[in-house]
Every structure is written in structure tokens, then in C-alpha cells.
């Protein structure tokens, strides 16, 4: 319950809004549920709201675990 996608923050707007990008598709979303977002950050987008910031280091760590064939 759950349809949410990782998108990249391209531009911060006023009123807690931001323009985000996913493979060239841009849309305006709300940052009302998150703090300290900067341009270049990736957030999880669900029904027009960012739910959380994605942690790059953790993502890289997870990918490394996949490559090592699990835990």
C-alpha cells in the first residue's frame, strides 16, 4: 500500500513545494512531510507528497549486498 517511486529533486519552490524529475518526466510535489531537502536529493513520491529522503549510502550498501549474493 505502497505505490511510491524514487524521484530526484530539481528545484525548490515556495510553500513547501518542489519540482522533481523521473527519467525526464517532471512534476510538482509537496515537501510538507519532510525536512532539510536539497536540490539533488532523492525522495520517495506517493500521491503528490515526498514521504522520506532516500539514503544514498544505504542504497549503495544494499546494492553491494545483492552483488555479494545476499547477506
Amino acid at each position: 500500500m505502497c505505490l511510491a517511486v524514487p524521484v530526484k529533486v530539481e528545484q525548490l519552490l515556495e510553500d513547501q513545494q518542489a519540482i522533481v524529475d523521473l527519467s525526464g518526466v517532471k512534476t510538482t510535489i509537496s515537501l510538507a512531510l519532510v525536512d532539510d531537502i536539497e536540490v539533488g536529493d532523492y525522495v520517495i513520491l506517493h500521491v503528490g507528497y515526498a514521504l522520506n529522503k532516500l539514503d544514498k549510502e544505504e542504497a549503495e550498501e544494499t546494492l553491494k549486498l545483492f552483488a555479494e549474493g545476499g547477506i
Binding site: 505502497c2 505505490l3 525526464g24 518526466v25 517532471k26 512534476t27
Partner: protein, 340 residues
């Protein structure tokens, strides 16, 4: 009386058959659709057809929004019917155009649409030879509805139909899927997406001619419009009483289509196309058919996407990029964006 095309709107009188309607036809439709048939000012068109196997197809267009990146309801209505005729291998020759206009519809929009239709028809060498106009009261239409009917001729040797399909045949497509439907959905005002997505609306008769020449033994062709690739392939499977196995890695999808589908929870397999065709051919002809498609501007991204298999359930299956399989089911209705 001269029409005020810039600021004028459609009135009930324009559909009444009287002088107002004559003025609309003479000043807005005829100068743009201009050809020897319409110049006769008859209620019908008299044509001589080469050959005696005639193909006819009709399509009505109700798309909203009316104008979108890559086209409008006008060009769509011309391309759509030309494609329906062309899928039989026929050469499209003539079109009709019927309009149902809503009272209050801006004449400037009507003019843009009519220009768009004329350009599309001219590019395909298929004049609009006869037509009709009706007007409905405000609130009883969506601005404009268009019906187009097309006539073409096909050679005696060519009878393409789904029942020709045999186990072992290959399935080809001329390019990426889902472009039109996702463009329309993104163009809805409340969606606020912007991207380089464009409708793929285009006429395919010239590509078809090249394909038939390269592979006269094509079994069947169809354009996957509403319902997408999934609906079309399921229809074909059911008539042919076979199954199909597609290779996901071979199906072309543009990055922007994938992204919009991800955000809205849609699957490109079920999304409308307006400039694509599916061709099914004997396996030994597939490579040369593919080459002929790729050599044409409307088939540059063509690919062999699967094959026809034995299957008593007549399912369309997809081999995923992971090696697993899933069924592409025959959905009852249009997909809606989802949150879950």
C-alpha cells in the same frame, strides 16, 4: 455573411441545414479540405476505384483533451481510419468526415482541427471527399466528436486475417508502446506532468506497403489502439485459438513512458497507441520483415517481440527480464491510475 473565425462560436443554426450551415461549410470546411469531389458540392462523392476488392473502415473520435503534444483530434481521426484500412494491406484512397459540434465551440479551434485533418489527409494522399455536420445543444457534447470512414483497395493475393495465424509464427511491432495514452493522461490539466512525451499518432499505410513487399506472406496485422498491446494480442489469440509468448526485453518502451507509468501505477502494455502496428509472420520471414521495417522512418525501432505458441487456454504470456513468466490478461476496461 462572413464568419468571425477568430472569436465566433458554433450556434445551433450551423447545424440546421439552412444558410448558416452553408456558410460554415463554404467558409471553414471547403477551402481547407478542397478537392475535385467536394468542389462538385454534391451530398455524395462519385469515385472510380481501381480493382474490385474494396476495404472499408470507420472510426469515431472522442478524445479529451482535444489538443495534445503530437497531434489533435483532427489528425488522430485521419490517421486512425487510414490505419484501420491499411491493416488489411490495402492502399487507402478516400475519407469521409462527420462532425458533431457542441453549441458554443470556438470556431478558431474548429479551424485548427480542420487544418490538421487536411494536412494529415494530404500527406497520405487520401482526400476527404464527403462529410456531414450536426450541432447539439450546449452541455450535450464534449466540444467536438469526429467520425471518419475510409475506403481503400487491396490486391487479390492478399487476405490478412487472424485465422491465418499459426503456431511458430513471429510477432513484430514497429516501435515503442504506450506513447499516446501516457501523453493524453499527462496532458490532463490536473496531472501537472511535463515531459517530452508526444503522441505517436501517424499514418502507417506507407510502412505497410514496404512490409507487404518484403513479406507477402504476412498472416495478419493490427494496430493496438485502446486497450494497448495487451488487448490486441488477446483478441488475436482468441480468434486464432493459439497462445502467445512475448519477450519483455524486446518490447520497446520510452523512458518517459516508463516513468509516467511508474508514478501513476499503470502498465504500458495496456496503454493506447496511435502509430503502431503488430505484424504476425511465418518464422522464416521474420528477420527480413524486421529489416524492411527498420529501414523505414516509421519502423526504426521495430522489434521481434515474441512468438505464437500452442496453448489451449489461449493466454498471452510474457517472459520477464528475470526469466520468470507472467500472464498478460485481457482486461475488462481501461486502466485507471492507482495509489496502491
Amino acid at each position: 455573411m462572413a464568419l468571425d473565425i477568430k472569436k465566433g462560436t458554433i450556434e445551433m443554426a450551423h447545424g440546421s441545414g439552412g444558410r448558416a450551415m452553408s456558410e460554415l461549410i463554404d467558409q471553414l470546411f471547403l477551402p481547407v479540405f478542397d478537392n475535385e469531389y467536394l468542389q462538385q458540392k454534391n451530398d455524395q462523392a462519385l469515385m472510380t476505384l481501381p480493382g474490385n476488392r474494396i476495404v472499408m473502415a470507420t472510426d469515431s473520435h472522442v478524445v479529451s483533451p482535444l489538443f495534445f503534444p503530437g497531434g489533435d483530434i483532427g489528425s488522430l481521426s485521419v490517421h486512425g481510419t487510414i490505419n484501420d484500412v491499411a491493416m488489411s494491406g490495402a492502399k487507402p484512397l478516400y475519407l469521409t468526415a462527420g462532425f458533431i459540434l457542441e453549441e458554443g465551440f470556438p470556431l478558431s479551434d474548429l479551424q485548427s482541427i480542420v487544418h490538421s485533418m487536411a494536412e494529415a489527409a494530404k500527406a497520405c494522399n487520401t482526400p476527404i471527399v464527403t462529410g456531414d455536420t450536426k450541432v447539439v445543444e450546449k452541455g450535450h457534447g464534449d466540444g467536438i466528436y469526429i467520425n471518419t470512414t475510409g475506403i481503400g483497395v487491396v490486391s487479390n493475393e492478399l487476405t490478412l486475417k487472424p485465422s491465418n495465424i499459426q503456431v511458430g509464427d513471429k510477432i513484430l511491432i514497429n516501435g515503442s508502446i504506450g506513447d499516446h495514452g501516457t501523453t493524453i493522461m499527462s496532458a490532463r490539466q490536473d496531472m501537472n506532468f511535463s515531459s517530452e512525451l508526444r503522441s505517436d499518432s501517424q499514418a502507417l499505410h506507407d510502412l505497410v506497403a514496404v512490409m507487404i513487399k518484403a513479406c507477402p506472406t504476412i498472416r495478419c496485422m493490427r494496430d493496438p489502439t485502446r486497450g494497448g498491446l495487451a488487448a490486441t494480442l488477446n483478441e488475436l489469440s482468441q480468434i486464432a485459438k493459439t497462445g502467445m509468448l512475448l519477450d519483455e526485453a524486446q518490447i520497446p518502451v520510452k523512458a518517459a513512458v516508463t516513468a509516467t507509468s511508474e508514478i501513476l501505477g499503470l502498465d504500458p502494455m495496456y496503454i493506447a497507441n496511435e502509430g503502431k502496428l503488430i505484424a504476425i509472420c511465418p518464422p522464416d520471414q521474420a528477420e527480413s520483415l524486421l529489416a524492411s521495417m527498420q529501414s523505414h522512418p516509421k519502423g526504426q525501432d521495430a522489434a521481434i517481440i515474441g512468438e505464437v505458441i500452442e496453448d489451449e487456454h489461449q493466454f498471452v504470456q510474457l517472459k520477464t527480464e528475470f526469466g520468470g513468466k507472467r500472464i498478460i490478461d485481457w482486461r475488462y476496461a481501461d486502466p485507471l491510475p492507482r495509489i496502491c
